[in-house]
Symmetry: C2
Subunit: 512 residues, 2 copies
């Protein structure tokens, strides 16, 4: 048929990075008609979801969590084959995913995310009466979520973006990540079963497969789309931001993109704990084959014998690291390209590379650490670009003052870490102020990998770490991305939407 696509262009299969095996299942690539249908259904579901009860949303999220657990080993097995992540990690990530769903269920049920602010009418106020004002948050409308490569469960189909959007009454349309379509389908089916079981409109949740540059941008351009959640590369995130900003009605994009997660080691700490920090640093930068967005990709310290000893300890640990399979061949190729460029210099030296040769057939990567001096680093912007994978760069500064200069020079970051003795820290207030101005999370004497999921987490920092530093994609505050306030003026009580349990009444916060 003229103009139609061949079967291979309308569907695709998954390949395992572990051994290149073609995995079972064919996945349909969405057409622009599919985009239209999914977004239109989401638009229609919006009003129903906006007026659904917190209890109904909570039950829905809990039903999704139960459905994911019911998938049992089939989910873990498929995710292992598609992502090369080990079973224990995936079991842990599944637990996190379900815990997130239950955490947002609790938030939906408790309901204080509406941030109710009440100022009662004062009909006798002079010179003019005050109307009754009640400000509450409500859902934005359909949210488009892009599944990530590195968290096939916790930041994909029913991950934090989707859970926080659904919790607050927004329909979700997921663009599945191409690297793990089977995993995505299994979870999407669990979500769709929950939609049916809970009697919600079908447009509450949809998932499409396809290229981000075609299907992804069409979703973001669609008139019904009200917000976007994305975790991925800086280039792809920028494209989505630009598409959203060019709409007749620009919409918010929450893109988590790129971060070096710098670690500053101050002299007292280097002296007292250099060997231990070296060991922990290598463990952090190679955790999950360096495929965490919080991987420490940059270490800054003052030059000298202690730093040389630190580098030697790092070299020892890195050379002993076994190569490991990355998430996909594309990601390995990008890692090899990026880390090779870093190794070649100019002005950089290889500190160490994993001794055992990686096996390309297994999509394996070798850990690499390079080093340079601060003057070179400051002069070469490309040295400050993230290399996704088990790579990090050690920068030697001439002095504490140059460490501060380095910190000022950095782009926005998800995290910034300072290792220091009590004396170091007492003297480093300026450095910490600069870093708090650059990063979403400031860590003292720890490492950035390992992101707690709770009230107090901030996972989001100034550009290019994320597209909007005012919001987080991890923790309960993530739901703030998908809501907006409405002030109800003189609306009769019985017509008002439900209040949460905690309210600000005449300026005082509490349970009234």
């Amino acid at each position: 048929m003229a103009g139609s696509l061949r079967e291979s262009e309308r569907s695709f299969t998954a390949t395992s990075p572990l051994d290149g095996e073609k995995l079972s299942g064919r996945f349909s690539i969405a057409s622009l008609d599919d985009v239209e249908s999914a977004m239109q259904a989401a638009g229609e579901a919006s009003e129903v979801l906006a007026s659904s009860s917190g209890e109904a949303r909570a039950t829905f999220l809990e039903t999704i969590a139960a459905g994911i657990m019911d998938l049992g080993d089939s989910l873990i097995d498929r995710a292992m084959r598609e992502t090369a992540l080990p079973a224990a990690r995936l079991v842990g990530e599944r637990a996190r995913t379900c815990n997130q769903l239950r955490m947002f269920a609790a938030a939906a049920r408790e309901g204080s995310w509406v941030d109710a602010r009440i100022e009662r009418g004062q009909p006798d106020r002079q010179p003019l009466p005050r109307p009754d004002l009640r400000r509450m948050k409500r859902p934005l409308g359909p949210v488009v979520v892009f599944g990530s490569s590195n968290f096939p469960l916790a930041f994909s189909v029913a991950g934090g973006d989707a859970a926080s959007a659904l919790c607050t009454g927004n329909p979700v349309v997921v663009k599945a990540h191409r690297a793990h379509p089977g995993t995505s389908e299994l979870v999407a089916e669990a979500v769709q079963r929950a939609v049916v079981a809970c009697g919600l409109p079908p447009g509450t949740f949809s998932m499409l497969h396809g290229e981000g540059s075609v299907i992804g941008t069409a979703l973001v351009r669609h008139a019904a789309c009200r917000a976007v959640g994305f975790t991925g590369s800086r280039a792809a995130g920028r494209v989505l931001c630009d598409v959203a900003a060019a709409r007749p009605d620009p919409i918010p994009v929450f893109a988590e993109m790129s971060s070096l997660n710098p670690v500053f080691i101050l002299p007292g700490a280097l002296d007292a704990r250099g060997d231990e920090i070296a060991r922990q640093f290598v463990a952090s930068m190679t955790l999950g084959v360096g495929q965490f967005c919080t991987k420490p990709g940059l270490v800054c310290a003052v030059q000298g014998a202690q730093l040389e000893r630190f580098k030697a300890k790092v070299a020892e640990a890195v050379s002993a690291m076994l190569p490991a399979s990355m998430l996909s061949a594309d990601i390995l190729a990008a890692y090899e390209h990026g880390s090779d460029a870093m190794a070649r210099g100019p002005g950089t030296a290889v500190v160490s590379r994993a001794a055992v040769q990686p096996d390309g057939a297994k999509t394996e990567a070798a850990a690499l650490v390079t080093a340079t001096d601060a003057t070179t680093f400051l002069a070469q912007p490309e040295l400050a670009e993230e290399v996704f994978g088990p790579f990090s760069l050690i920068v030697a500064a001439e002095s504490l003052a140059q460490l501060a200069t380095l910190s000022r020079h950095l782009d926005g970051q998800l995290t910034a870490t300072v290792h220091g003795s009590a004396e170091d820290l007492a003297a480093a207030g300026g450095l910490m102020d600069i870093l708090a101005g650059k990063a979403g999370r400031l860590i003292i004497n720890g490492f950035p990998t390992g992101v707690e999921v709770g009230d107090a987490m901030q996972h989001g920092g100034p550009w290019p770490a994320t597209s909007d530093s005012r919001f987080t994609s991890v923790g309960t505050a993530a739901l703030e991305r998908f809501i907006r306030p409405v002030c109800y003026q003189d609306v009769p009580q019985h017509l008002l939407p439900p209040l949460g349990l905690s309210r600000r009444v005449e300026g005082v916060v509490g349970r009234h």
Copy 2:
């Protein structure tokens, strides 16, 4: 001197809309070097302000308020001459401006805007210890504020945008509105005196004069600029949003642009209170010569004898309105252009025009109300464009169902109003849900002009009402525009920034 500007291109004078008189004073048009200096100074002031105490910021804001009051009649007189707004209105606006400054001073002092969320360390947690996590908001950095034409005090140099940015520790650079440079200078001098009196860095506050398309965009493009506050036209707001989105690091723009503020009158209310609503509606649409962003520019009701009677009552009130001076000749020209187009149709009819002829030499405008039917309105998008000034359009629907269709058809709005009897409202849940999805404030049996300044106000709605419906430019919540969270992980207590009085500790909000 080759390449230099003539005096008339480097400075300008103000003209009174009341009589065309050239007013005293010449105002320098900023150069791009001035932009660079102001933004660089703001960048340098950022770190100092970020670590200043709430008490210091509160004192600063209160000193500004006192300084504005100290200007006495000179400020009111100049503002009257520059804006044609009556003295009583300006005295009221000055009171609002100073109250806003004091309100944000109180917020700075109280400090709970940092929204502290504390999850204490659990070193013994299994399988992994939990770090100590404290999430607090901190300032974004330099904010560029564009003075508005219609609130020469309350939304200009020391208005709500500037006060909420300063309250949270952000330096401010104001681009003064060209229509009231003398008023702006007087207030800017009061702010600068407060900067000196409070010992703050000079970059805490600057003001520049110049064209928005040159100086305004240069300010928004500047690397040090972290956020933008704007109140003005849709076209100018869009330009600023586009400039901000095209930066290497996009920044948030809070633009308040364009709103019809639709008023839906349901049959029971039209029947019972039609005459009173007509009178109040004309008072609201002509308040301040229709130059409020919340002016009701659209009335929707079901056709019939009651609506015809309503239109006759509106016609009576409008024809009796005296012409009044608008803010500037440019604004009058735009009003005449827009209202003439609305009067010409096609498909629209003039309901009434103020009977007394306006005097062009006094920059006077005549109130105008036109009417059309819903089918015409739905077919002609240009009928849904805001006309800034004393104009409104009455749209007759065939049925309640067509009223709902009209409501769905609307763009985003600052406000939406429903007039209804108890029976009307009980049956109109669907309409109110649609309007809550379209507007930032939903008003029952009232009028949108008159915006309370408090905790519960929301002044911001979906595009094109504002560029970001998640935030408000009026009320205490306005300060949320200029802050972002940072999570402090295992930071020793004595190095933490101060907490506010109200905190969320282990999930529970209160004063701990």
